[in-house]
């Protein structure tokens, strides 16, 4: 194993591989910054160029681009409330309020360092768990996935700081929107009104650009001024404060990374869920949970570490069994096939050097991205001090063009504007946009796995399988834990005051 790891490292430290990885990282950061485009787009665009290269150089470019999109998309989420990719949506919840408070550099510093540590944990996990992961994956089936989606919905209670009823309404709205289009189970066209465009359903990335970015532009025009409402400390100082925050909350980083790994390793579970679930977990376990949504750095660290670790997790089923962990991993799988490498047993037995090269690529690409990110943070933050009169005419066209570029459909531009107006109204009347986005992400997953579970195990499927039952209890525990903890704390306080 050590020999294979050493050979993998040597193959990567070839100047050609390093050059193409750097190109990939730069490309990934640029793609990540563009609204709506993430790792999938980066890999799909770079794939044709990589096929003519040596396997390690090609993988360095592909994975370098993929890893760098995570930090790239976090930049716009934190600074402009524009999710660069749908998986970065959770970064908007606390990253943007931090920017408004003048702590954008701190948030970027924290994101870059969390991304590095998450990525490293992901790479180590990938090395250690390839041999044992099969057994874990085989134990999980559609009922467990259903319960996990249900757990994701429990996060809603955290976001609904104002009215829980409004939060649930927004989630219901999101859930119902996710059902627009062809029902994958029965093949029925639902809520399409005969439109071919709606048959595909609403693209999540397009809706998110509308809900968060376009609505923010509308708001910015009304309020005027710049995004930053107050500057707290010097920018470079803030970047290092962000880095320090990650080490202060190291337990959260480890927990979030493990969560990202777990979600990444599950085939078919979208990465967007990872960030949202990590945010929920951070909010539930934090000592300052009341500050979540107003600019708590823990709300930046958790989703970023999860997103970075997700990559290592996603590679486990891809490399180990030839099952892609997500869409981007499907692109990587196609690259393997073109290179003449068959993932699965053949890869683990005959191409371990390539497996370890991949591990090292993740490590080195994360280091390059983080160093670049930390150096660029103080300059990037200056953009947020520009007046709205300059930001709106530049950012609004980029948002609309970004929505169009996702699938090249002009009707997506109409969708983005409609959801921009809806997002503004929801924000004004305190219907959580985050709850709506969570509902949309989890809607289809919830429905699909529920149907399969009922068909396979009957109506009471969550009680008949031991793993499902345990996960179900975990979900109940997650929902009720804050209430129980609050009750115990209140009782203890009452007892103490009674004694005094």
């Amino acid at each position: 194993m050590l020999t294979a790891s050493w050979h993998g490292l040597l193959a990567l430290f070839d100047p050609t591989s390093i050059l193409f990885m750097s190109i990939g990282v730069l490309f990934g950061v640029v793609i990540g910054i563009l609204p709506g485009l993430g790792g999938i787009a980066a890999m799909a665009l770079i794939l044709p160029f990589s096929l003519s290269l040596e396997p390690v150089a090609a993988l360095a470019m592909l994975l370098g681009a993929h890893v760098a999109t995570i930090f790239g998309s976090s930049i716009t989420s934190i600074l402009f409330n524009i999710p660069g990719a749908s998986k970065s949506i959770a970064l908007c919840f606390d990253g943007y309020p931090m920017t408004q408070r003048g702590e954008g550099a701190r948030a970027l510093g924290a994101a870059a360092m969390a991304s590095l540590i998450g990525g490293l944990i992901g790479a180590i996990f990938l090395t250690l768990t390839l041999p044992i992961m099969k057994a874990i994956m085989m134990a999980l089936g559609p009922p467990e996935y259903f319960i996990m989606a249900l757990w994701g919905l429990s996060v809603i209670a955290i976001f609904s700081s104002g009215s829980l009823l409004k939060g649930l309404t927004a989630a219901g709205f999101g859930l119902l929107l996710s059902f627009v289009g062809m029902d994958p189970v029965s093949g029925t066209a639902r809520f399409t009104f005969g439109s071919l465009f709606l048959l595909d359903g609403f693209d999540f990335a397009v809706v998110v650009i509308g809900l968060f970015a376009v609505s923010e532009m509308i708001k910015l025009y009304i309020t005027g001024g710049s995004i930053v409402k107050a500057q707290t400390t010097s920018e470079m100082g803030s970047v290092w404060i962000g880095v320090r925050d990650v080490f202060i909350h190291w337990k959260l980083v480890v927990r979030s990374s493990l969560l990202g790994l777990f979600i990444g390793a599950l085939p078919g579970v979208g990465a967007s869920i990872g960030g949202i679930a990590a945010y929920g977990m951070a909010a539930q376990t934090s000592k300052n949970k009341e500050t979540f949504g107003t600019g708590n750095v823990e709300g930046v660290i958790a989703p970023e570490a999860t997103n970075a670790a997700n990559e290592g997790g996603g590679l486990v089923p891809t490399l180990g069994f030839g099952i892609p962990g997500g869409e981007s991993m499907a692109i990587l799988l196609s690259a393997f096939i073109v290179m003449g490498i068959t993932p699965g047993r053949d890869m683990l037995e005959n191409h371990m050097d390539i497996v370890f090269s991949i591990v090292w690529i993740i490590v080195v690409a994360n280091v390059i991205t983080t160093i670049g990110g930390l150096l660029l943070a103080k300059h990037l933050v200056k953009v947020t001090t520009l007046p709205s009169s300059v930001l709106i005419p530049v950012l609004l066209p980029i948002c609309l063009v970004g929505a169009y570029a996702i699938k090249g459909r002009i009707k997506d531009v109409i969708v983005v504007v409609v959801f921009g107006i809806i997002g503004y109204i929801m924000d004004k009347y305190k219907y959580s946009r985050a709850d709506m986005a969570i509902g949309m992400v989890l809607g289809l997953m919830l429905e699909r796995y529920m149907h399969i579970s009922i068909k396979l195990y009957g109506n009471l499927f969550f009680l008949t399988r031991p793993v499902t039952l345990i996960l179900f209890l975990v979900v109940l525990g997650t929902i009720f834990y804050p209430f129980i903890r609050g009750y115990i704390a209140n009782k203890r306080n009452a007892d103490e005051s009674g004694v005094q």
């Binding site: 640029v30 793609i31 563009l34 485009l37 665009l45 009215s163 009823l165 409004k166 649930l168 309404t169 219901g172 709205f173 859930l175 119902l176 059902f179 029902d183 189970v185 029965s186 029925t188 639902r190 809520f191 376009v214 532009m217 509308i218 025009y221 009304i222 009169s389 300059v390 709106i392 005419p393 530049v394 609004l396 066209p397 980029i398 609309l400 063009v401 169009y404 570029a405 090249g408 002009i410 531009v413 109409i414 504007v417 921009g420 107006i421 503004y424 109204i425 009347y429 219907y431 809607g443 919830l446 429905e447 529920m450 149907h451």
Partner: protein, 169 residues
């Protein structure tokens, strides 16, 4: 329009949406409506409860009374209510203008295509909203267009929509 009325309008809009979805769902087969129908009904019940709460809940009485306010309350409150009304009208006007700008930009894209629309929008925004000089407006317009063209067309190979005029002409 009071805040309460506006809140009610939004809640009623949500309620109507949920009712419409529930009605439409009944037209699907049992498997296709298994999740949407209960979600729509559940959401309709929740928003109805929200509507009930926001219209029946007692507003808290403000006990922090200022002595000056107590003495000259009538006149001051009239002034402040006048200011408030003016502020509200301004806000509504700004909201309408802001949404109007976004919708106009969308209409431009649909009619003349993405790239010409960007140029017209950015130049127009700088010239008529920011009151910048013509040459400055054009510099920003061409700069933004160039940046977007390089990034999306040259770099990402995206084929931009040319507008309905292309089909008409």
């Amino acid at each position: 329009m009071t805040k309460k009325t506006a809140n009610n309008i939004v809640a009623v809009a949500f309620l109507l949406f949920f009712i419409a979805v529930a009605i439409l769902s009944t037209g699907f087969g049992p498997r296709a409506r298994l999740v949407p129908l209960p979600v729509a009904i559940g959401s309709a019940v929740l928003i109805s409860f929200q509507l009930y709460l926001q219209n029946t809940k007692n507003t808290k009485i403000n006990l922090a009374i200022d002595a000056g306010e107590l003495l000259f309350g009538a006149k001051e409150s009239k002034d402040s209510s006048g200011k408030k009304k003016e502020k509200k009208e301004n806000l509504l006007k700004k909201e309408l203008v802001s949404i109007g700008i976004v919708v106009s930009f969308l209409a431009l894209i649909l009619v003349i295509g993405i790239e010409p629309a960007i140029l017209v929008f950015v130049v127009g925004y700088f010239r008529f909203i920011n009151k910048a000089k013509w040459w400055k407006s054009f510099v920003f317009g061409i700069g933004t267009l160039l940046f977007i063209h390089l990034l999306f067309v040259q770099f990402l190979n995206v084929h931009f929509y040319k507008g309905i005029l292309e089909y008409i002409l």
